[in-house]
Amino acid sequence: MIELNDVHKSFGENEVLKGITASVQKGEVVCIVGPSGSGKSTILRCINGLESYDRGEISVEGLKVDRDAPSIVNIRTQVSMVFQRFNLFPHRTALENVIEGPLFVKKEPRAQALERGRALLAQVGLAEKADAHPPQLSGGQQQRVAIARALAMQPKAILFDEPTSALDPELVGDVLGVMRKLADDGMTMVVVTHEMGFARDVADRVLFIDGGVIVEQGPAKALLNQPQHPRTQDFLRRVLHPL
């Protein structure tokens, strides 16, 4: 459902994506791993048009992603995003954050949006925090609200941009647990992450990216347990055994 074909992207002189070709099938969980600055996040940001790309083509369900075309709104309502730093709206409660999109973008009736919003907060284990403002919530709780906000758009896929990187270690599990449940329910997910355990257990496929190219890709367990390329081997060794 998501297709990338020879995608190039530069920030000034710096070419961060040097021809990315990949696809994500419906119901698939794909993890993107790789060193910092390798272009992982940029790929996600290009898929829902937060970033433009210079060459190649990205399409979602056959619809070309072009951040300057009106169709981008359509794509963004089908492909939600969860950010590293949560980006909840601090002036609204958890529930208001969740129903903001359904209410104002999808023009859902208020009663229906509220009912769905509460159900989604319950789904991420935060039913009792509906009226809390983001600053009153822990990082893990905020990220779960952000996931509920993404789900509220009833997307066909969700992009996760290092969703646990800004969390205290003991809060990571709650967020990964919610994501695992989503995966089990068949949600299409593209996850940029450094959580190799999550990638191995939950992902169908893993892409290893370095220097703006896909160095290696394959089924999650195979790639993470027996990486073929020396750069993948080196990266995984350093991530899994930092000492």
Partner: protein, 217 residues
């Protein structure tokens, strides 16, 4: 001192007429400058080059002209161009336009202070530019903008006295008229100063309240 109180009782009612006009000029120009300032600021952050350039040049032109000259222009020159304004209209228009430049810069600073992640989050749930502004950026910018906005209110209250130069009989002009006919300069201008101060104090308290609230987040 006794003389002052006697003078105060005598002049107070006349000066109150001035106070009424001062309030009209201040509120009128405050509203106008807020609306215009918002428009200039939105043009600046619209991301459309032409709009942002027009707004930037407009702000610079307005900032570069003294308020008093702007008032003279509106009141004395516009009639030659076929537009006749009453003194009150010219005062409100002049002060409103003059202050719209400062309001615009204040609003723009508030809007640009909002975390980029907020805008991306809004976009990622399919919000367009205007919806993002209305639902996400502006409500948060208000908190940042309010304390300086309160200061602008105080400055406008005091600068409304410049309307006296084009015959608007607000507080300063009333005072000057009484003083020049009674020669009781000390009593009159002490009274005028006290009345401006009395009007400023609630605004000063308001600013303090805004600042406390903004500091909470």
């Amino acid at each position: 001192m006794k003389g002052f109180w006697r003078d105060a009782v005598e002049f107070f009612p006349i000066l109150m007429n001035g106070v009424a006009l001062t309030i009209v000029v201040t509120i009128g120009s405050l509203l106008l400058s807020t609306v215009l300032g918002l428009i200039w600021a939105m043009m600046r952050v619209s991301g459309i080059k032409a709009l942002s350039m027009i707004s930037a040049s407009l702000i610079n032109v307005i900032r570069g002209i003294p308020i008093i000259v702007l008032l003279f222009y509106l009141y004395f020159v516009m009639p030659d161009l076929g537009v006749t304004l009453s003194a009150l209209q010219a005062a409100i228009l002049g002060l409103g336009v003059a202050y719209s430049a400062y309001q615009a810069e204040n609003f723009r600073a508030g809007i640009e202070a909002i975390d980029k992640g907020q805008i991306e989050a809004a976009q990622s749930i399919g919000m367009g530019w205007w919806l993002t502004m209305r639902r996400v950026v502006l409500p948060q910018a208000v908190r940042i903008v309010l304390p300086p906005y309160g200061n602008v209110m105080i400055m406008m209250l005091k600068d409304s006295s410049q309307a006296s130069t084009i015959t608007v009989a607000e507080l300063a002009l009333q005072g000057k008229l009484i003083a020049s006919s009674t020669f009781k300069n000390t009593s009159v201008f002490t009274l005028v100063a006290l009345m401006y101060l009395t009007m400023s104090i609630p605004l000063i308290l308001l600013v303090r309240h805004f600042e406390k609230r903004a500091g909470k987040r």
